[in-house]
């Protein structure tokens, strides 16, 4: 048996039998899973009997060896799975256009407590930004005059606790909506914790992560810097600033993740495991909507008819 991260087989119980041997040899007992469909890799410190991927909910899971999560931190869960179910039920139970699949208990309870791997860092951007500023006005001959200016701004921006999702399978904008975490109680990962959490590791490389952060940070910096330019139009001409990262660490943030496959699309319902912020991406069921529309149509039709008939 090799330790190079090769895929083992989910159906084969021996794999898990053997993995207990690994457990003994390895400093920690971590069970790794890889989705054969989307390629997501996730770990658990306890052996879990899962058949489908926690991200794409497709069948077909293979086992992988633990690749290491050294120097990683996590934010503990404050919310329970019942809080998620309660919120989720509140959202869908009285909504007749949500597909029936999403209302099944089995679906609801397939929610997973996941620690999502993110990069947390403080980011500084400093340097000079060159803009072209434009003012336009009518001159005395009633012609339009555009006055152009060279604008130079020196900037110094500190962004603290910028969290970056490094898993491409989790929608960035959905994650941003719920990722309002308090980082004051970061804890080191306790490998001896036998709770049934999943640890979803990132699939982005270091360079692409910093490039992604750099682009996003610069965009925000330019937007703020623009507000300081006293011209009606402004355009960035040159960016002579430097973005630097400090206190970078991998942090596992707690989320409740419910992935449901519906008509070849994956719908993710995410709740922040620390403060309960949520984003439920739910589809509109065509059949359910049609039935509901016909029901309302029929009901209103009947009531209107009876009113018209008897009054």
């Amino acid at each position: 048996m090799s330790y190079d991260g090769d895929i083992l087989y989910e159906e084969d119980d021996e794999v898990f039998e053997n993995s207990s041997e690994v457990e003994e040899k390895s400093p920690t007992s971590v069970f790794g899973y890889r989705c054969n469909h989307c390629g997501s890799v996730f770990y658990s410190f306890t052996r879990q009997n899962i058949n489908s991927c926690i991200i794409c909910s497709e069948q077909g899971i293979s086992s992988v060896f633990f690749n290491g999560m050294k120097d990683s931190y996590l934010i503990p869960f404050n919310k329970s799975i019942k809080d998620f179910i309660l919120e989720y039920r509140k959202k869908i139970i009285w909504n007749p256009i949500v597909p029936i699949k999403f209302k099944r208990k089995k679906t609801m309870w397939s929610v997973k407590e996941v620690y999502l791997s993110c990069f947390l860092s403080d980011i500084n951007q400093k340097g000079t930004l060159y803009f072209v500023g434009v003012d336009q006005e009518k001159n005395s001959d009633n012609l339009m005059e555009k006055k152009m200016y060279n604008v130079l701004e020196s900037i110094y921006f500190d962004y603290t606790n910028v969290l970056l999702n490094i898993n491409s399978k989790i929608d960035d904008r959905v994650f941003q909506t719920v990722c309002d975490y308090d980082f004051s109680n970061l804890k080191s990962i306790d490998f001896s914790d036998k709770s049934q959490f999943f640890y979803l590791v990132g699939d982005m490389q270091g360079d692409s992560i910093s490039e992604k952060s750099r682009k996003k940070i610069s965009k925000q910096t330019v937007a703020v810097a623009c507000q300081n330019i006293p011209h009606s139009l402004k355009k960035l001409k040159d960016d002579q600033s430097v973005v630097s990262f400090s206190n970078t660490k991998e942090v596992f943030v707690p989320i409740y993740l419910l992935s449901v496959k519906y008509k070849n699309n994956i719908y993710q319902c995410i709740m922040n495991g620390q403060n309960g912020k949520k984003y439920f991406n739910l589809p509109i069921g065509i059949i359910e909507t049609t039935i509901f529309a016909l029901f309302i149509f029929g009901l209103v039709f009947l009531i209107s008819y009876l009113i018209a008939y008897f009054l």
Partner: protein, 272 residues
């Protein structure tokens, strides 16, 4: 001996069996001295001729078949129907068939007939005139304009009734037409007075249902309900990364300084 026995039987039957009074119409003769009009009719030069030319009848007979369109049996059945209707509705009815309206319009003839005889204050008059080519029919309503006769037998309903029974009149089915007429009178009376009703192709009185409005309302409400639930489903607003980052800027160290702002050139054009 045989003749005597027959004669006796005829005389006996006349004496002891009721004679159908509807077989012939008792029409009285109006004279200038005795116009035979109800007390409330004001007689003057403008209407005396009309009165004299209007048949004076016994208002209890109800069926006045001058044109002889019904058999005796049919007349009796119609009479019974009319009496039943009058008893339940307290609305008087006069059914007149004629082949001569004395050169009056059928409507004038009908109203004169009702007004100058001793009918009740509230009532309806139905006239079939078979003079000339195609027969004419008319229904008039008499009473207080705000009273029950006008509210039950509105102009629209009268038009509906006449339209429906005219198909029988055209085929000379006078009894059938009159019979249906009385049934429809009764039908309208038994309905709630408010609401719109019409006579169906089968001669039944049915309520007019505003189908188009109902369908539009149903579609509109279905749409509104669906939009409401779609909104409920989509009420979460995704946060942009810029919004997210704006919360992460350390305002204490933030420094944006305008170092240079130099005019470089200008472009003049006649376009905006």
């Amino acid at each position: 001996m045989k003749f005597n026995r027959c004669f006796f039987l005829v005389i006996f039957s006349f004496l002891f069996f009721p004679i159908n009074s509807l077989a012939s119409i008792n029409t009285y003769t109006r004279t200038n001295d005795n116009l035979l009009v109800p007390k409330d009719v004001v007689v003057d030069d403008s209407n005396i001729q009309e009165i004299l030319e209007t048949p004076a009848v016994n208002s209890l007979e109800k069926i006045y078949d001058y044109a002889d369109l019904y058999t005796e049996g049919e007349e009796q059945k119609l009479y019974n129907q009319v009496i039943n209707f009058i008893n339940t509705s307290n609305i008087d009815v006069a059914i007149v068939t004629t082949n001569d309206t004395n050169n009056y319009l059928i409507s004038d003839y009908a109203y004169h007939f009702y007004d100058y005889n001793d009918f009740k204050k509230d009532g309806v008059v139905f006239v079939i005139c078979v003079a000339g080519g195609s027969p004419e029919i008319f229904m008039g309503n008499i009473g207080d304009k705000n009273g029950k006769v006008f509210s039950i037998y509105s102009d629209d309903r009268i038009r509906d009734i006449l339209q429906y029974i005219y198909s029988d009149i055209k085929e000379s089915k006078y009894y059938s037409a009159t019979n249906t007429y009385i049934k429809i009178l009764d039908g309208f009376f038994n309905l709630n007075r408010v609401g719109d009703y019409r006579v169906s192709a089968g001669g039944k009185i049915i309520k007019i249902i505003p189908w188009i409005e109902i369908v539009i309302l149903s579609v509109a409400l279905s749409f509104i309900f669906i939009m409401f639930f779609v909104y409920r489903l989509r009420e979460y607003k995704k946060l942009s990364y810029r919004e997210f980052l704006s919360k992460r800027i350390d305002e204490s160290t933030l420094n944006v300084k305008l170092e240079e702002d130099e005019f470089c050139n200008s472009i003049i054009s006649d376009k905006k």
